[in-house]
Symmetry: C2
């Protein structure tokens, strides 16, 4: 080969080592990758090796064919909220994620809780009914598979309230006690049951992981999650005796979140297998089931959280400090988010349509109120150039105009608009229409000609534009794809086409 | 060497041939150049060859240290308006460029005429007095160097009006006649004289170029420019007898524009030399001079054009169709440009300060009127989001919001503001302040995070952003550098720093 080394001088500032072959110069990818923010990796297929150059790294998911308040939410079936590092765990008290983002001690982040709800809802629609193994339905026949320790009473009894046979049990409640126990070897990990505890009690799941045996214990305490060697503990709450509890957990996820607390050398799931379930204490139990998933249980847990934690302003206040730009754009604990309000609506409207319980719909309607209140007055409404209403994911002053959060808030309004009448319908229609008007007028402000901006901080405060990294860019694209199905305006289809081209390095024209 | 060929697959769409050396992949510059819009060339210094990679191609010029209405205009001393291909020629009737941009037949483009004025004005300030060779000052002693044909009368006489000796001449006026002639061998090409023709006459310059002899003839016709073999003709106008004309031409430029008409095989200047000057007809002449430049003559020719061609609305209408986006953003002949109005002001204010003639100042003040009239009503004022006034280089409906033209219009207002009083001062101050307010609010809308936008067409009509190519980007930078000296707002210095970094491939942050 006639290939020689050659110095490449970059912008007269520094040099990198290139190769030259005749009149072609070859530049090293280690330089290109960093300089142009692109990606690449070797791919070996049947011994043939090539280099795959990629302009961007994120994948675009298609929204549902028909946008419906009963349907999947955007492409959220691809989300896995709870696996994210910034989710400490799914609490066993309310069954919702707790976030360590911006606050390592953990806080309830309504956006995350709604995404948890909507992703499980959408997964349910996509996957259909889960695979299940019934472990105990209250009849005597099931009990044959269960073992007990000494001094344990187990009886199948008729329960008037539930109109079903249930199992009454009475065992010592120390976790060291074998209780009422079933040996299993399963590779599905969602455990659910209906349970009423008379005095103290607990549920434990035994799992084999990475060759070791772990126990995940669910106990009547208020500690969210803790660990001790290979034992992981979730609190079910202290005041939940004498009421029927619907218990539904992904034991694999609960184990994983426990491992992340680092009480043992084990850090990840590997060769997992479910070895058994233990029930202790004194109470009644029914419908003990292993499933491949308990999506709808998670969904309703989260929907109920929205009902139970809505404040008198109709909002779900976020109790952490949020600094978009330190000293310039900050939110103090107690702020509301239009995205949380909108996501809450999308969750609550689906819960209403599935359950027909009006408590969900009332909460969704209440969530509208903050859309009418300006950021300066503690609401979520910003105004661009005194001309366009904007519902703020982060209602900072000056305004930040985050695009994806605004569009998600519109999706919430859109969902609610389909299911209400009379005065709430008028309100939500007006809010939605104003929002869409703003979006149409301002959408192109987010177009950088080779990608998108995450927000308009540069216009608000005259600082550097905040370019959206590719995974936010793909969220923008998914949102526009959905908008093409909601709104009859070629703006959205034209723009999304170009935004998709940006992912392949195609730029907008220059003059 | 261990270098091997390797396939690089680009975005899973197509492949290019790369090189591999151990774990480094080298991509061909022919691909990089096109894909990333960058530049590169081999540089050989004393036998050492390297490859110079350049992110951008355009150079930033610094504005004057102090911005003054009497000073250089921005960095226009670097402009050479007349050499541009789209300048057909500098007319000999009025001494201004005629543009073939958007209209091959040619038209008077006030922006180009003002840039011609301001570049020569700024060059004059930069270069100081030109090098000159006096050929004839009206005295008998100079006449010794001149030759005449037969039947030629030449006399030095006292001229009352000019209070100076001048030369009266009477020769046959056919261009074939040698007339009053001087042999030269000079490498400066600006010819000037004061001339009054009684009956017909002409001036010719003989130049040697590329080994051939060319004649540039200035004749009393209305034909702007024409050619015939190696003869090039410029019309001085038909009705200019019996008045003193100040003649001032760059003969080299006049030759070049003639060559571009393609009457001969010669296309460019090469080994140029000025061989002689001929004066014919019947008239009086004085101050025949060769100079290295006649910048201030060009400047005042252009300033006079602005006085003579201002219409009753105070504008300089542009008589061509301008299509920013065909069918979407178009201007019909007769449109005004805020940039033309502002550039006109900057020219006229300088002409006023140099000459103390109030006719220039009155014209500059008249040019304000169109700033108050909206684009829809034939003026130049647009409005962004019903909140910000914007002076339009191209006052299309919908608005285009071209950045550089707007800032140039502010420079015009700034210049005028320094020299007027009372009512015009109030008006121009209000217009300037409104403009600066808009600029501060909207400047960052032009920041793409890796370059700038030329206009806001994408926001106005929802089409692809129009990225500014690097030479417009550097105009933006030069303008911001000037604004840092005009306005005490860190926005401008902060922004221009980033815009300069973009030229070296440094992007704004992403989230
Ligand atoms: Ca039962
Ligand atoms: Ca004289």
């Amino acid at each position: 080969a006639n290939v020689q080394d050659m110095e490449c001088e970059i912008n007269k500032e520094y040099s990198v080592q290139c190769k030259r072959d005749d009149n072609e110069v070859y530049m090293p990818f280690s330089f290109i990758q960093k300089y142009f923010e692109v990606y690449g990796e070797f791919q070996n297929t049947d011994g043939y090796e090539k280099f795959e150059f990629a302009h961007s790294y994120s994948e675009v998911h298609q929204p549902p064919d028909v946008i419906s308040p009963e349907g999947a939410f955007m492409s959220f079936e691809h989300y896995n909220v709870e696996i994210r590092k910034r989710v400490k765990c799914i609490t066993a008290i309310e069954g919702v994620p707790i976030s360590t983002q911006w606050e390592p001690a953990g806080h309830y982040y309504p956006i995350q809780i709604a995404q948890f709800a909507l992703s499980h809802y959408s997964k349910y629609l996509r996957e259909g009914e889960p695979e299940t193994v019934s472990l105990l339905d209250g009849s005597n026949s099931d009990l044959g598979a269960w073992l007990t320790g000494v001094n344990v009473k187990v009886t199948s009894v008729w329960n008037q309230v539930r109109s079903s046979r249930v199992v009454e049990f009475q065992t010592p409640d120390a976790l060291s006690n074998p209780g009422l126990y079933i040996h299993l070897k399963e590779s599905i990990y969602a455990l659910s049951m209906d349970l009423k505890i008379v005095s103290n009690g607990s549920i434990s799941v035994t799992l084999k992981n990475d060759g070791a045996t772990f126990h995940v214990h669910y106990v009547f305490s208020n500690t969210l999650i803790t660990c001790d060697g290979k034992n992981i503990y979730y609190g079910l709450g202290v005041d939940r005796q004498d009421e029927w509890i619907h218990f539904a957990r992904d034991a694999d996820m609960d184990l994983l979140k426990g491992l992340m607390l680092k009480c043992s050398k084990y850090k990840k799931l590997n060769g997992l297998s479910l070895l058994g379930v233990t029930i202790r204490g004194h109470g009644v139990v029914d419908n003990v089931t292993l499933s491949s998933a308990v999506h709808m249980d998670h969904f309703f847990d989260a929907a109920n959280w929205f009902v139970n934690h809505q404040d008198r302003r109709g909002g779900w206040p976020i109790m952490v400090t949020r600094k978009l730009i330190a000293g310039v754009m900050e939110l103090q604990p107690g702020w509301y988010s239009a995205m949380a309000q909108g996501h809450g609506m999308s969750t609550l409207v689906r819960a209403y349509l599935k359950s027909k319980k009006s408590v969900y719909l009332r909460a969704a309607i209440n969530a509208l109120k903050l859309f009418e209140i300006s950021s300066a007055q503690g609401g979520v409404k910003a105004r661009f150039a005194n001309s366009y209403d904007w519902y703020e994911e982060y209602p900072t002053t000056p305004s930040s105009f985050v695009l994806n959060g605004f569009i998600f808030s519109l999706f919430g309004l859109y969902d609610l608009k389909q299911v209400v009448k009379e005065e709430p319908l008028e309100t939500v229609t007006r809010l939605y229409n104003e929002g869409i008007k703003s979006l149409k007028a301002m959408l192109l402000m987010y177009d950088s000609g080779f990608g998108t901006f995450y927000d308009l901080r540069h216009i608000s405060v005259g600082l550097a534009p905040n370019r959206a990294r590719w995974d936010y860019h793909t969220v923008h694209i998914s949102q526009l794809l959905q908008l093409t199905k909601m709104e009859d305006d070629p703006l959205f289809s034209r723009t999304v086409k170009r935004w998709q081209e940006y992912m392949h390095g195609i730029r907008s024209p220059h003059n």
